[in-house]
Structures are given as structure tokens and as C-alpha cells.
Amino acid sequence: MVPTNYYLILSAILFGLGIVAFVFKRNIITLFMAIELMLNAVNLAFVAFSQSLGKPDGEVFVLFVIVVAAAEAAVGLGIIILTARNRHSLNVERVDLLKL
């Protein structure tokens, strides 16, 4: 059997890569994908804990996370379309209205 720790370490690695992508990418759509990557990493930890502890509650939680991710993707991509239309650019560096 695969030890639970392996799943959790993989989850930590994926979460870290998600942070790297979020900090280094400049395209607003790719930033959004980095958030989805981090959500996926957390889902992996949820399922690993749920299976390991023998309680299905964690998997119900994963379903809720997926629903929220879908809603977030719909609204977020709407905002991205609006930003791209107003600024004619997908670069987050150009969205700096609140910058001094």
C-alpha cells in the first residue's frame, strides 16, 4: 500500500508549485490556473486524509471545493474578459490603477 504521507508530500509539492506559478507568471489567465492548481493540491490532501481515517466526510468536502472552484472560474473569467476589454492587455503589470 502507498503510505498516506506520500500523498500529503505530493500535495505539498503541488501547492508550492502553485505558489511559484502565482508569483512568477504575468498572464492573468495563467495566474487563475495557478489558483486552480493549489485547489487541486488541497483536494488531494482531503481525499488522502479521508481514506486514511476511514471517514467519507473529507470527500464530501472535496465535492464542495469543486463546486466553489467552478463558480469561481465562471465569475473570475468574466472579470478577466472585462479587464482585457478595458485595458487591451492580459498582463497583470498593466492593471495598476490602485498603485501609487
Binding site: 500529503l8 505530493l10 508550492g16 508549485l17 487541486n40 470527500e59
Partner: protein
Amino acid sequence: MTAPLIIFFVLAALAVLGAVSLILQRHPIHSALSLIVVMVALAGLYLLMGAEFVAAVQIIVYGGAIMVLFIFVIMLLNAGLEERTNFSRLATYAGIPLALAVSGLIAAAIVRSGGYLPAPAPSGALTSTKTLSMLLFTEFVYPFELTSFLILVAILGAIVLAQREN
């Protein structure tokens, strides 16, 4: 090395490579395809753990619906190569150390607490679709109904945001 362990390492390598590729690719479409690889690998890991319903939902909702939405928007906006601006110094010097610190912290906590958690046994009976749906419609019925409201609000929000004002 047993068969589940080999499958785990293959899928884990696939997931990590997909995530690294997401960072290295400069075209958003290539990043999106890399993310799909990660999601399919994770679905395989869920199957390995015996969570078959979550694996199916992962493929259908994440790999299917959400990523199609992403690719639709990338093509709609005709997103090209990521342009390299001189990005903020904070991101350059704090980005990698921050990610390493977070991953290292999580990994250290996991390793130090090791041994308490039994390995997930893919029995199938524990988290069968029946068990999950029973739980979803009894104990978690209130949050479940709230998610439907959340989706309604998200639909309305997306329509209001994306429509052309005249």
C-alpha cells in the same frame, strides 16, 4: 516495490511534471494543457486510493467543464505569448524562497507526524457513491442546498460581468 507504489510514483511524477510545465510554458494554451495533465494524474491517484466518485467528478468537472471554460476564454481573448516586463523585485527575490518555505514547512510537519496515519486501503465500501450520497443528502444537506444558491449567483454574476454595456 509493489504495483500500487509504482503506479503512485508514475502518477505523481506526471502531476509534478505537469505543474512544472505550467510554470515554464509561455503560451497560456500550453499552460492550460499542462494543467489538464495534472488533473488527470490526480484523478488516477484518487482511483488508486479507492475514491472512484471523486475521480469521476474530477475528470468531468475539472478536466472537462472548468478547463474548457479556460480554453474558451484564452481563445476568445486571443491570448498570445506572455510578455516579459521587468517584474517587481519582490516577486523575483521572494517568490522561490516563499514557495520553498511553505512546501518545506508542510512537508516537515507531515514527516514529523508520520506513522500515525494508516495507509488508505482501496476497499471501495468505505466511500462508495452510495455512502457519499447518503451523507450528502442527510448530514450535509444544508451546505448542499447553499451550493446551488452559490452557483445561481455565479451564473448571474458571470452574465452581468461579461455582457457588453450599451
